[in-house]
């Protein structure tokens, strides 16, 4: 086989290139690797992720490396025979037992973490009721009395009373509702989750919270946020600010200066978000609103920009056509801001 050498080399080179690329991609884009969590339990699960990474990464490199190496070392030669090496019980025993031990250790770590996360919430937790529907999230606080009023499916009307609060139940009179989540930093929050129509999933990516919202039953998840939205925003701004090329990648970022075109018209203001082309009612793209397009037309090559940051609630279980945009805002504030916000809310009952 005259081609053997060539094939072996090709395989080896490609394989090593693959391993190098894996690391290169990582060091080029360190921000891609598991962004830091902002909840107490999230730090623990991320640690577990890292441990798993440190165990599996060497296994990955060694096994792939051996594969490429053996292919490189043993291409076919007519004058040679392979080893007749059908088994070796000792070896096989070793590589059964070693993974078993390592995995057992991982399982123990994992189960402890899991048990802590899933343990009952502390009694002083701030309770928020979450109701998912196609395609919106509704939140409710119990108000001063600390008790939620009944809700009834037959009263649910998306426009006026999405949660179906029964105002005949006096417990509901001070209940507060919102389409956004507000929570205080450093305090335990318990989400009681339900769904009206199909399965959704309550997912807070930055807080490592995920729990399905299942019609017909209540699920829950509690967590303890470690950073206010404002702090996190500042943090992200600090780490991502820089002079950036005007291209696709700018979409969604925030401009740090005001940029104008030749006629002096403002393309984007300081603090303004760099938007894509918008659509008119007919669904056609209005190119004149596309910031990147206008910047490059104006001959601007680089701009000062940084990443915007907002905590977000997303839906993580396919729930229908609007699944991909079933979002809600979540804001973490200080206790004082939280108390102030709370005092400004009017219970739904008073609108009745």
């Amino acid at each position: 086989m005259k081609n053997s050498r060539l094939n072996a080399t090709l395989f080896f080179v490609a394989g090593i290139a693959f391993l190098i690329l894996v690391f290169y991609a990582h060091f080029q884009n360190p921000q891609w690797y598991l962004p830091a969590a902002t909840s107490v339990h999230g730090l623990v699960t991320d640690h577990l992720f890292d441990i798993t990474m440190w165990i599996t990464l060497p296994v990955f490199v060694i096994t792939q490396g051996l594969l490429f190496l053996f292919v490189f070392l043993y291409p076919h030669r007519d004058d040679k025979k392979a080893d007749y090496y059908p088994n070796n019980h000792k070896l096989e025993l070793i590589w059964t037992i070693v993974p078993a031990i390592v995995l057992t250790w991982l399982i123990v770590q994992g189960l402890q973490t899991w048990a802590n996360i899933k343990s009952p919430a502390p009694a002083d937790a701030e309770v928020i009721e979450v109701t998912a529907e196609q395609f919106a999230w509704n939140f409710r606080w119990s108000g001063k009395d600390g008790k939620f009023g009944r809700n009834k499916p037959e009263l649910m009307k998306a426009s006026t009373n999405p949660i179906g609060i029964d105002f005949d139940d006096s417990l509901s009179h001070d209940d507060i509702t919102s389409k956004e989540i507000f929570i205080p930093v450093g305090k335990t929050v318990l989400f009681n989750i339900q769904a009206k129509d199909v399965i959704h999933s309550f997912y807070l990516p930055h807080f490592r919270v995920k729990m399905d919202a299942v019609p017909g039953m209540r699920t829950n998840f509690w967590m303890n946020p470690t950073m206010t939205s404002a702090d996190k925003k500042e943090d992200v701004k600090r780490t991502t600010k820089g002079l950036k090329e005007v291209d696709e990648r700018l979409y969604g970022q925030v401009s740090d200066e005001t940029y104008k075109d030749a006629n002096g018209n403002v393309i984007v203001e300081k603090g303004g978000i760099i938007k894509r082309a918008e659509r008119d009612q007919n669904g056609n793209l209005v190119k004149s609103t596309d910031v990147v397009l206008r910047l490059s037309k104006a001959g601007i090559k680089k701009i000062m920009a940084y990443h915007d940051f907002n905590y977000v609630l997303a839906c993580a279980e396919l729930c229908g056509l609007g699944h991909y945009k079933m979002r809600a805002a979540i804001t973490v504030v200080t206790q004082q801001e939280y108390d102030k916000w709370m005092s400004e809310q009017t219970p739904d009952f008073e609108y009745q």
Partner: protein
């Protein structure tokens, strides 16, 4: 039909390549229809499966490319997509309803129709009788029926593209209530009904096939072919068939209950107080989670139904082309059995965040991580098989090597997902998409490719073109890694799967480039498949004629005549004397000793442990 097998012919007791076989006459004249269409011959049925699967694979892949077009260039107007899809992509932009139909049918077609029906159907039919030494399946008629059910179910599945409201769009896992309520999403109307009808036919087909495979392996082996002399291909097929026969009825039970919920007003999966679009529905007391248990009780074994046959074929092909016995044959068999057994008790790892009792979750963390052990054993054994080997780089071998690499990459991420606490962040994100595409999708596809290149000569008496095969391999593996590897990063950041677009969130917008990169490589990878398809059909007619044993392999199928005959062996079925992996045995002149060569002819190489 008169059999021609009584005809005298010399036994094939020689292992040189020019096996002497009487080209005896066939007395029977088969019409085209009975020979190619309603054939009862296992080899023909295998080919029918293969051709159908190739067609379904092209469909499944095209659907994924449409999805990638949307995800890579969201909002971009592709006029040819507009023309292709009509009202589903007005102005050339795929609508969400159609995107979700694409996701659903892509998943369903790839998992069930290509990698279960196609892969098992083709190779179990072709190889079980040939490798265990029998003239056909236990029941050829049942076997043909199984194919025709498969064919019908494929037609029904594809017909759902032509339904007004579009095909099913609840994902391949069709979780109710979404899949049960046409009010909740358009695809849950007629499209879903067709999905359920199609899957019922598919299950019937799978059961008929499975029963046949199992009883054939148990009862029809040739003389001397003890279980411990079976090639790993047959072992893996055998265990796979058992998994299918035990798990598909469970999906069937779920499907029936879903049909009842949809059409006869029962409430197995539908709880009370459902309010869809402000309308209170009249169901009481059902449990959506019950469906998930029933589905995944099939669903997890299903991923091994997809993967195990590929593992078996890869083991065989690695050993043949490394010219070296597979390392730890028995351990490999026990690993297959362990995986098969464990696959029945890990299903709820798909449900850690579903609201299921978290204690139950803990049990499944344990079983799930256990299943990594036999998988690790298999990987180490494959690697050791390559150690001090003598590798011939056929296209099939390249695919087998690629399989090992993909299996490692995809398998390792399973250890992250199996730990419920880590899975909180990763569940239902692109990390999962990356994981299962690599370990199940790409790896099993590589098993399929390897099998096609390796056994093509046995199917069509022709050789495939090596150069095209190698180009196909390199383009495919590079694009696969470029498509699926970056998805891990999106998953770590938490980008959820089954998203029509990532433009709605700032936090997903940092992946705009990456998504375009992925989509471009998906297109390259898709285009590369033209090489395979061309090579396949071109070689069928114009390929170099095959020799009797082109890869110098030990298994019995290579003792059959080059031009396949009804009943497989013109003379007696060869008797088996040794295991299938006597490659490069010291003391023997050639580097292989086929299974039917008695020890009496190989005195110089016999060893103490041989008997």
């Amino acid at each position: 039909m008169e059999t021609s097998t009584q005809t005298q012919s010399t036994a094939v007791h020689s292992h040189t390549n020019d096996v002497h076989i009487h080209e005896h006459e066939h007395h029977h004249h088969q019409s085209f229809i009975s020979k190619y269409i309603f054939s009862l011959d296992h080899k023909t049925i295998g080919k029918q499966y293969l051709i159908t699967a190739i067609f379904m694979a092209i469909v499944g892949m095209s659907l994924s490319l449409l999805m990638r077009a949307q995800l890579g260039w969201p909002g971009e107007q592709f006029s040819f997509i507009g023309k292709l899809l009509g009202k589903f992509a007005e102005g050339g932009i795929i609508k969400p309803e159609y995107y979700y139909a694409l996701v659903t049918l892509h998943g369903t077609i790839m998992v069930f129709f290509v990698l279960t029906g196609g892969l098992s159907g083709t190779f179990f039919n072709l190889l079980i009788p040939l490798q265990i030494g029998t003239r056909d399946m236990a029941s050829p008629l049942l076997n043909a029926l199984s194919y025709w059910f498969f064919f019908a179910s494929s037609c029904v599945m594809l017909s759902s593209f032509f339904v007004m409201a579009g095909p099913a769009s609840g994902g391949w896992t069709i979780y109710p209530p979404l899949s049960a309520l046409p009010e909740a999403t358009p695809g849950s109307g007629t499209g879903m009904t067709l999905w359920l009808v199609s899957m019922s036919l598919f299950i019937a087909s799978g059961l008929m096939g499975g029963i046949n495979y199992i009883s054939t392996v148990i009862n029809m082996r040739t003389k001397g072919m003890s279980l411990w002399k079976m090639p790993l291909t047959v072992w893996s097929f055998f265990i796979t068939a058992i998994l299918g026969v035990l798990s598909f009825p469970v999906l069937f039970s779920g499907a029936i209950m879903l049909v009842f919920d949809r059409s006869f007003g029962t409430s197995f999966f539908l709880p009370d107080g459902l309010v869809v679009a402000d309308k209170l529905l009249n169901h009481s007391g059902g449990s959506p989670i019950l469906w998930q248990h029933l589905f995944w009780f099939l669903g997890h074994p299903e991923v091994y139904i997809v993967l195990l046959p590929a593992m078996g074929m890869v083991s065989e092909i690695l050993s043949v082309n490394a010219r070296k016995p597979i390392f730890g044959y028995k351990a490999m068999v026990y690993a297959i059995m362990a995986i098969g057994f464990l696959s029945f008790i890990v299903w709820a790892h798909h449900m850690f965040q579903s609201g299921m009792n978290p204690f139950l979750g803990s049990v499944f963390v344990f079983t799930t991580l256990l299943i990594a052990i036999p998988s690790a054993v298999k990987t180490f054994n494959w690697l050791t098989t390559l150690y001090r080997s003598n590798i011939i780089f056929t296209p099939a071998m390249l695919y087998a090597l690629g399989f090992v690499s993909l299996f490692i990459t995809g398998g390792i991420t399973g250890i992250f997902l199996g730990n419920a606490a880590v899975d909180i962040q990763l569940h239902d994100t692109y990390f999962v998409v990356a994981h299962f595409h690599l370990v199940m999708g790409a790896a099993s596809f590589f098993g399929l490719f390897a099998g096609v290149y390796h056994w093509f000569p046995k199917m069509f008496s022709k050789m495939m073109n090596n150069t095209l095969g190698k180009w196909h391999f390199w383009l495919t593996i590079i694009s696969l890694y470029c498509v699926f590897f970056p998805m891990h990063y999106m998953g770590m950041a938490g980008v959820p799967r089954r998203y029509y677009a990532f433009t709605e969130y700032e936090w997903t917008s940092m992946f705009t480039d990456l998504n375009r990169f992925i989509s471009i490589w998906a297109l390259i990878g898709g285009a590369a498949q033209v090489l395979l398809i061309f090579n396949f059909f071109w070689s069928m007619f114009k390929g170099k004629p095959a020799t009797a044993n082109p890869w110098k392999a030990n298994t019995l199928e290579w003792t059959t005549p080059i031009k396949p005959v009804h009943g497989n062996w013109p003379g007696e079925i060869p008797e088996v004397h040794r295991w299938p992996y006597d490659y490069s045995k010291p003391g023997h002149e050639e580097d292989y000793i086929p299974q039917h060569i008695p020890y009496s002819e190989t005195g110089s190489s016999n060893r103490k442990g041989d008997y």
